[in-house]
């Protein structure tokens, strides 16, 4: 018995097609550059959350260093492009390749540990990366200010408010691409081993498979996809900044996956999109005049997006571990069993 609704796939395809054509369909919310930009960023966070779901949800590796690869893709690309080392599309490929090598090195060191120690070790590596970037170590990263992408060195269709719709498409295409890769991967035989590692590692090694190799495979694939998303984020946001490397990014990825629901693919994507839009909207909300009548002792915390999101997160972890997609499947189960 499957819990999937039989029309879900065709509907998803229609939804994606609608989103792709939205900037053309006359006057609608998505024909405005402002929302296109917001949604482009949200799609990319959805894709990034999905790569984190591969790592944390499917393979059971609680990494706190995922943001490092997102940022490394971004920074390698901006450095290659701005310093005229490579033409932009070659720079993108090189950035992903270098990030993959970085992931192999860091992955093989930190995967010697497991469980919670692994979380701490990956956190330490990512923090070192964040320090290198934010302290301008080696004089390449321009410290806290980040590096603006040199607009003359990328195709003109990526530049300017009028061209935001192309960035919107690229972000949506990236999300679809990452979704398809992870779909294919998690349904492949390697994906079955990932799931088996999460559920019972001893059993995998008894079956004669090497757990460390498959863990590294999952870690490296998630990292190189994240670095690719980082390159696209560089195009969309127009600059590389140290905040993309901070452990706060990884923690928000964790929030996205938990809120949306792990191990369902679409849960992570929805979680990422909602979280990304919510942080932007909650910030606007905190500046609104409606809040002025509330006493400061309550208004202060409410005006911080992390307060609301943190409370929801605690609630979900404690009382609704499946997140959004878990709630949906529980509802489906009820509907099906009533028939």
């Amino acid at each position: 018995m499957t819990l999937r609704w039989k029309y879900s796939r065709p509907l998803l395809a229609i939804l994606v097609a609608l989103l792709f054509s939205a900037p053309f369909l006359g006057s609608n919310p998505l024909s405005h550059p402002g929302l296109q930009q917001t949604m482009a960023v949200a799609f990319l966070y959805g894709a990034l959350a999905l790569t984190y779901d591969l790592l944390f949800g499917y393979t059971g590796l609680l990494s706190f260093g995922h943001a490092l690869f997102f940022a490394s893709g971004m920074y390698f690309a901006v450095l290659f492009i701005n310093h005229d080392v490579l033409v932009w599309w070659l720079a993108a490929i090189a950035a992903v390749a270098l990030s993959t090598i970085l992931a192999i090195l860091i992955g093989s060191a930190s995967l010697r540990t497991g469980g919670i120690t692994f979380a701490m070790v990956t956190l330490a590596f990512a923090e070192a990366g964040h320090v290198v970037i934010s302290r301008n170590f080696g004089g390449l990263t321009n410290g806290e200010n980040g590096i603006a992408l040199n607009a003359d060195k990328v195709p003109q269709i990526f530049i300017g408010v009028f061209n935001t719709k192309y960035l919107f498409w690229i972000a949506l295409a990236t999300l679809v691409f990452v979704y398809l890769v992870i779909w294919w991967l998690t349904e492949s035989s390697a994906g079955r081993v990932f799931a088996a590692l999460r559920d019972n590692e001893t059993r995998v090694s008894v079956l004669g498979l090497k757990p460390s190799r498959f863990k590294l495979l999952s870690f490296v694939i998630a990292a190189s996809l994240a670095s690719f998303i980082g390159v696209v984020m560089l195009m969309v946001s127009g600059s590389a900044a140290p905040r993309f490397a901070s452990s706060d990014v990884t923690i928000s990825l964790l929030l996205m996956v938990i809120l949306g629901g792990a191990i369902t693919r679409w849960g992570a994507v929805i979680g990422g999109i909602i979280y990304s839009v919510a942080t932007t909207r909650l910030q606007d909300f905190s500046q609104s005049t409606a809040l002025h009548s509330i006493p400061q002792i309550i208004r202060g915390p409410i005006s911080e997006p992390t307060f609301t999101l943190g409370l929801i997160f605690i609630f979900v972890v404690m009382f609704a571990p499946g997140g959004l997609s878990g709630a949906y499947y529980a509802l489906r189960l009820k509907v099906i069993s009533r028939k």
Binding site: A109, E304, M318
Partner: protein
């Protein structure tokens, strides 16, 4: 030579601050298997209560005020830790990943509440007048506050070891770190040990919070960030569940970080992470950690 000594002692002082954070993390992890991301918020809560005491309750900044601020900071953070343990952590008994996740949520909420109330700007913490004095060792002028951090860390280390060695609850905690299932099976109430460890860990972090604020010249919701991460690194290098291991690792890391940063600013964090990777490759259980059966 003077600079060498100055940097070395500053490094040990910094290591002492790391130890205050790491000792609680290590015991909590060793006993309960909880990776406590909320530990940074214990530190911040302690720092704010210390600030409240030394600015709102008393208005003179002398030695006693500072000692009072440390105690108030420690006790308030300890009670807050106890609250977190009772209300949230125990509800997720044996769900280790969820426990770690929920502490991430607590850290976010506490950070947001404090930022909403007090803003993210540094608020000056009054320190006793002698804080700016220096002690001359040979021809080196060492700021006196470094010795205070070291002294507090040593006192906490000794009292921690004494508690663990010579009291019944200490015995239960040590046995629990070694094999919690067996302790439970013998009919001993480990929940009291859990609460003790959380209170003590919170206390050390709260005292650490006041000292960190003194070291960085002020209190803000953001002061805990790097100390928590260094706390994690210290715990991994020192060995999970080993308080003396944390002490040793904290000192080594503090000193190495200071020397590396002197050589080239920013190099310190990098060297520490390589040290971490090296220790994991050679001794995955950490310096003084035991391999769990």
């Amino acid at each position: 030579m003077d600079t060498f000594l100055l940097i070395g002692i500053t490094g040990i002082g910094l290591g002492a601050l790391y130890f205050l954070v790491a000792s609680g993390l290590s015991l909590i992890y060793g006993l309960m298997g909880v990776l406590n991301f909320a530990h940074g918020s214990f530190l911040t809560v302690g720092a704010f209560f210390g600030l409240w005491f030394s600015t709102q309750v008393v208005h003179v900044s002398n030695t006693w005020t500072f000692i009072g601020a440390m105690l108030i900071g420690g006790v308030s953070a300890g009670l807050f830790a106890l609250l977190v343990e009772r209300v949230v952590i125990t509800k997720l008994y044996e769900r280790h990943i969820d426990q770690a996740l929920v502490t991430v949520g607590i850290a976010l909420v506490v950070g947001a509440v404090l930022a909403g109330w007090f803003g993210n700007d540094l608020r000056l913490l009054p320190t006793p007048p002698w804080f700016i004095n220096t002690v001359n060792i040979g021809s080196a002028h060492i700021p006196v506050d470094r010795f205070l951090y070291i002294a507090v860390a040593v006192i906490l280390l000794i009292s921690n070891i004494a508690l663990l060695r010579f009291t019944r609850i200490g015995l239960i905690i040590r046995a629990g770190v070694e094999n919690r299932r067996m302790v439970t099976a013998l009919g001993i109430n480990v929940r009291l040990a859990f609460s003790t460890v959380f209170f003590l860990g919170g206390f050390a972090a709260g005292v650490g919070g006041v000292l960190v604020s003194a070291y960085s010249n002020g209190v803000s919701p953001l002061i805990a960030g790097t100390y928590l991460i260094y706390g994690f690194i210290v715990v991994v290098i020192g060995g999970m569940g080993s308080v003396p291991g944390s002490f040793l690792a904290a000192m080594i890391i503090g000193v190495i970080k200071q020397y590396a940063n002197y050589y080239s600013p920013g190099l310190g964090d990098f060297v520490v992470v390589f040290l971490l990777a090296g220790v994991l490759l050679v001794r995955p259980q950490g310096l003084l950690g035991k391999v769990k059966a």
